[in-house]
């Protein structure tokens, strides 16, 4: 009896957790009142000190010689994902996949042993995230 209850609890927990994960995959509310600027977003994405997204992703920018292949190519991502889905993944992709290698770009809490100049700051500001989303929306198939 005891063990059956435990198993039931475990399954219920699993179902709850799974439904919570499945329900949320977009953050439709913009982070700022200023609409994103795609040109600035492009600069943020390519910059080694800001987004540095090419560490892991390929982009349809042939002048960039070194492009990572750890994450999916972002070519055509504007046709695959909505602005809200992109925002959700860029702000904190561990909400979708707890083991992801993709850094949380707009979450300052919970980080450990952050080097001095970066302490207490998210990787990108809210406006930079909006700019990046605006740029990614232009990448259509």
């Amino acid at each position: 009896m005891r063990s059956r209850l435990v198993v039931a609890g475990f399954l219920a927990g699993a179902a709850l957790a799974a439904s919570a994960w499945a329900a949320e995959d977009a953050q439709n509310e913009p982070l700022t009142g200023v609409p994103g600027d795609a040109a600035r977003g492009r600069a943020v994405v390519l910059s080694r000190t800001l987004g540095n997204c090419l560490l892991c992703h390929a982009l349809p920018v042939p002048t960039e010689r070194f492009q990572g292949d750890i994450g999916p190519s972002l070519a055509g991502v504007g046709s695959r994902l909505s602005a809200g889905q992109m925002r959700y993944r860029i702000v904190d992709s561990t909400r979708l996949n707890p083991d992801t290698i993709m850094p949380a770009y707009h979450r300052a809490e919970g980080a450990v042993r952050v080097a001095g100049p970066f302490r207490g700051r998210p990787v990108l500001t809210a406006q930079e995230v909006e700019d990046v989303v605006a740029y990614l929306l232009t990448l259509r198939e």
Binding site: L16, G110, F118, R119
Partner: protein
């Protein structure tokens, strides 16, 4: 216990398994592959030819230092240890190792510093100094080709556990752990770098971008600053424990020092 409480425990157990338990399981890469396999052919060729491998200059310097009498005691390494090609064979393959007298976990650099300071009564060579790198590379070279064989049981166990925890700890502003790059993604491109499995068997190694031989801890500091984490100082207990975990992970590989890397 109330049914609802059990529910909560069940959910908690699941969450724990998802976030902590599963992620921290010690895992060895399968198949295990040396960092050498991820280098360009020219770099591999440079490593394989002692005449072309710049790391051998440090080994030669280490050989000379081995016989040099130093300190108040006017003793050389050879005074106590004789011929390195006999007495140091296989030693580096067993490091890091617990020092029975102090109970500390020592890597090769720390052991050599201890000999210099306590047994030779000589100034302790600084981390990353030519003297310490040359002696370490010379001693490590005596184990070249021998399987990495550290002990992680008994006195070494707590250090191993600490090293494993460090390996799976997300750190820095980019919030990444060693496992994200070196277990989940080896073989893939991180911008211009092909990710290896992150083994330590190359070190001390000659890195082309350093134009010099450097220690494993120098490489670990790069991996830390790469994710915008505060690196530990050289010789920090955290790094030595991490080195022990790396050596355990490298089972099946042989000591390559001084290897050549990009």
């Amino acid at each position: 216990m109330l049914y609802r409480q059990r529910l909560a425990w069940g959910a908690l157990a699941l969450l724990l398994a998802a976030t902590v338990g599963v992620a921290q399981e010690p895992i060895r890469p399968d198949p295990v592959r040396s960092g050498r396999d991820f280098q360009a052919p020219e770099t591999r060729a440079m490593q394989d030819d002692d005449g072309a491998n710049p790391g051998m200059l440090w080994v030669a310097r280490g050989r000379a230092l081995w016989d040099e009498a130093v300190g108040a005691a006017r003793r050389s390494c050879a005074s106590c240890h004789g011929r390195a090609d006999e007495t140091m064979r296989g030693v580096a393959a067993q490091y890091p190792r617990v020092d029975p007298s102090s109970g500390r976990l020592l890597n090769l650099e720390l052991r050599i510093q201890q000999c210099r300071g306590e047994r030779q009564d000589a100034p302790v060579p600084r981390f990353e100094s030519d003297e310490l790198l040359a002696l370490t590379a010379y001693v490590a070279h005596q184990s070249r080709g021998m399987p990495v064989a550290v002990s992680v049981d008994g006195a070494a166990r707590p250090f191993f556990d600490a090293g494993r925890a460090a390996y799976f700890q997300r750190i820095g502003q980019l919030n990444l752990a060693c496992t994200h790059c070196h277990d989940a993604n080896w073989g893939r491109m991180l911008r211009g770098d092909r990710l290896s499995q992150g083994h330590g068997n190359a070190y001390p190694a000659y890195r082309l971008d350093w134009q010099a031989v450097g220690s494993l801890q120098r490489r670990l500091r790069f991996c830390n600053t790469g994710v915008r984490a505060e690196p530990h100082p050289f010789g920090a207990a955290e790094y030595v424990a991490l080195e022990l975990y790396l050596a355990w992970r490298a089972k099946g590989l042989t000591v390559e020092s001084p290897a050549v890397r990009r």
